[in-house]
Amino acid sequence: MDTRILTNAPYDVEKVRQDFPILTRLVHEKPGRPGKPLVYLDNAASAQKPRAVIDAMANFMAHDYSNVHRGVHYLSQVATNLYEATRVKTATFLNAPSPDTIVFTRSATEAFNLVASSWGGAHLKAGDEIILSVMEHHANIVPWQLLRSRTGIVIKVAPVLDDGTLDLEALARLLESPKVKLVSITHGSNVLGTVTPAAEIARMAHAAGAKVLFDGSQAAVHMPVDVQAIDADFYIMTGHKLYGPTGFGVLYGKAELLESMPPYQGGGDMIQTVTFEETTFREVPHRFEAGTPPIVEGIGFGAAIDYVTALSMGAIHAHEQRLLAYATEKLQAIDGLRIIGTSPTKAAILSFTIEGVHPHDIGTLVDRAGVAVRVGRHCAEPLMDRFGVGATARASFALYNTEAEADALVDAVRAVREFFN
């Protein structure tokens, strides 16, 4: 496929939509009641899958399936080659210096637990400080709390400004402590949409002698990411939000950091030799991949990377930014609607509340119009407290969403207001 031609073509969202079988289905069909077209705006929770991903996984299982990394037989080699090709694609996608810096996990959550347990366990001791931000997903909070109860590390929290921008001055003050060893912060908030200035955060952290980890679960699906340009020590992303399957996550780590880390889990595939007296471990990244990996998911994730790369992440970003601006303007015009998160640098995520209407009721009502949004705390309870809300409704946009779908959301939200008036 010649990606240059596709990259230069204008973004044809209607054509893109044809790649996603689920987008033609109706919801809430019942005898005697026509269904509503699906308006899927819950992409920050999980994105839909293009035919290319579905087919790649099905074809792999139908034609090329075998376990990887251990057989001498023909299919084992075929499957290993295909699976390892995803590592190369992932390295290219993140502009990592080598495929050996890419560790596959079963989720972004597992990647956080891996870093906290392995790197944190080996390099952090009682009294050492790590800095999180108030807008972190629970996956970037709880593993550190588990480590804290084992080792006595101290967790500091960088605040956000009222518009949801990371408070860099406060971060700088926290970094004045010589005990800070790690800054672990989101590259894009799943609630506010805020995209953080990763390169600047890394520069600040490194100047203070700390390592930096970015949660790219949201950011990496909305915009191009270059882990070398931002000088990330660790970068974590997940497959299912990038139009790939569930059960697949990615940890990028600088080679010297990964080398310094003990295994996370023990088992097959991560060892060199095993005796009951002593076991030696494989090299990085395989040292961190115990057991049969998510092979089929890895094939699907590789196909997902091919898919978004062909469209180009830059073009996807531009399309989503147009949608974000359009939907923001329309939603803001609704009386009593408050958008939570209005940072100048945002991914296409819109959290909002409506005066006098609980987000749960918003969710149930707009769903009847076919509009799927997420309501609740979004695995970010401290952030809800920061903005003084119990919950929000959240519309999150993807590469296949349209202005007409933003209109459907806005119409449904207007009708919600009238319903409860």
């Binding site: 149930t364 009847r368 705390r377 309870e381 919950a391 409860f420």
Partner: protein, 156 residues
């Protein structure tokens, strides 16, 4: 746009949701519990005044939640007044069945005050919305915890 949602959001529910009765912490109470629905973050406190003979003399609640949970809590406090603890528990059993089971699957909970049953029936539409059942039952779980002296409960 939402005509078929009127079964869930009946006028009585919208009214109780907007203007909940017996809302706020009372000056006097002798049983209290805090309920939480971790799914949506709703939190509710139920305050009961139970007499020496085991009769609920007064019931109040406060906290925040969706229209369904606020209306359910409001209607619950109205129906509880004057009931014995056993009658209150029986109503909870009935209410839970109403929200989660077809009519023929209901368990026999003993004598139920027909007036209370009729009043609570406006919430039966929740049966068609499995994701919202916990909104409707949160107040009742919390009431149950208050009677049994558990200060905290969740819908999980």
């Amino acid at each position: 746009m939402f005509d078929d949602l009127r079964d869930l959001y009946q006028e009585v529910i919208l009214d109780h949701g907007k203007h909940p009765r017996n809302f706020g912490k009372p000056e006097a109470f002798n049983r209290m519990a805090r309920g939480e629905n971790p799914l949506c973050g709703d939190k509710i406190n139920v305050y009961l005044s139970i007499g020496p003979e085991g009769v609920v003399n007064d019931a109040h609640f406060d906290g925040r939640g969706c229209a369904i949970s606020q209306a359910s809590a409001s209607l619950m406090t109205e129906t509880l007044k004057g009931k014995t603890e056993a009658e209150a528990e029986a109503l909870f059993g009935h209410f839970h069945d109403m929200c989660t089971k077809d009519d023929h699957e209901h368990t026999d909970h003993g004598h139920l005050d027909p007036e209370a049953v009729e009043k609570l029936d406006v919430l039966s539409g929740v049966r068609e919305f499995p994701m919202r059942v916990k909104c409707a039952t949160l107040a009742w779980h919390t009431m149950h915890a208050a009677i049994h002296g558990d200060e905290k409960t969740t819908t999980e």
